[in-house]
Symmetry: D2
Subunit: 154 residues, 4 copies
């Protein structure tokens, strides 16, 4: 069985300047709720779209994932809500790869409102590498080196 | 090519008393928007869940659909918004099969707030019978007779 | 009572070249369903975000709406699904103002996949001008002339 | 300033048998994604609807909240995904009040598939008591005793 924390498999060293991308999005009307603010569940969506873009900027498009049977479902998720975002706010989702293990990776996030640089949300997600049948698969050296590349498009 | 309105293929006669089911749901907090009412896009979801339940009450569960390669995607949709629904409202979705053609069916809907019997939304959807590759398929006699059954569970 | 089709209130002439904006969006993972395509309800969201951007390009930002008590809820909606869009597709939402009446406006839409120019969806929405209490309000000459402006930012 | 962990304000003792409710829901088609399973963001919605029902069974309906200016936004949230849920699955959301502090409460959750009693998701949320202006407010004795009541409707 594949263990996620194997002795003797050192996590690769992550260069912080390469590991971070900032993805901008704008709050949609449908993402608000009757409190007049962004519904707390929608920040999960912001994390996801930022992650997809983080991967794209390193050459990992969805067409690639599909052809390689590469899937990275979220296995755990933490969110801390600091300040509410509102309809039409532009948000920067700072997305940083912080850990690469045998079969999982972890990203940390800070969601910041562009207009006043207010920190709205902090978050962290762990993702597992699985195949099309949801079976855990090793993050091999090729994939690891792709994840450790700097972004090519800001 | 399969035509949806073939000469010589009469639409089966629909018994109005069999063709109608009422499915109750309750508005979720996440379904509201900053106007304090249900976001207009969420009524599409209410139609869908009512349709799934309409089929279940005639013995057509999702396990069946999947095993038979049966899919019924929406090909057109009309909604008229009459009165806003709000968080925690109980809604009755009256769902009526009104037409069965060679490869499509049409359902009409009325969404009514339970507390005051206010009509919130009227809607209509046409669905096409397709296979797993999205290719149009005939609604054969077996499927038609299943659709024309009365509901067994109220 | 405010009537939407008043004798003697001619609808303003709409210049087709001014009335149209194209808003690009990209399909999010969460917007797909188990059929592997965009869930049909999510096109309602694409229409909404295109409309918000259509207004912004004519100087009507949400900050404006709020300060003026201007709301434009959807009162009816029609969608025809032509071809499925998929995760990560870029979509152009062509959004055209086609009618301005006493208290309502109508927009027509064509959602086109950028990669192959495939028409995915056609749609139409009617919106009513209401105040913060959901009461119908006249679209006065000032608002009409704002709506009839050409976009300033492509 | 209101502190959430005040010396001398002991957290009330929570009776585990009173503090737990099980709320059943069924996975909607729209809640799935192209992996064929429930999108991970939708579990946040299941927690929310279970919490609303948990409160209702203790006499705290939304009509009450609104009239008392009572709001309980989520301030932090943790989710661990154990097994995927699928379209049409019935899910039991076990919801337990585990902590009542000066201005916040914490609920823990286990989401279990009814058919095979598989644990799909574990979760925890902290909610803050705020007023309509999002200002933190004390959970007074009246509210605390309402929260500590057993459910009246199973």
């Amino acid at each position: 069985m594949l263990r996620d924390t194997q002795a003797g498999v050192p996590s690769p060293v992550i260069d912080p300047s390469s590991a971070r991308s900032v993805v901008r999005t704008r709050v949609r009307f449908v993402e608000t709720d009757l409190m007049g603010i962004v519904h707390h569940g929608n920040y999960v969506i912001y994390l996801e779209l930022a992650r997809v873009e983080w991967l794209r900027r390193r050459g990992l498009t969805y067409a690639d994932w599909a052809s390689r049977g590469l899937h990275l479902p979220v296995v755990d998720l933490t969110l801390r809500y600091r300040a509410p975002a509102r309809f039409d706010d532009e948000l920067d989702v700072e997305t940083t790869l912080v850990e690469v293990r045998a079969a999982t990776v972890r990203f940390d996030y800070r969601i910041i409102r562009v207009s006043d640089q207010k920190l709205c949300t902090e978050a962290s997600t762990r993702l597992a590498r699985v195949d099309a049948d949801h079976a855990l698969r090793r993050i091999d050296d090729d994939l690891a080196s792709e994840l450790l590349r700097p972004e090519v498009q800001a």
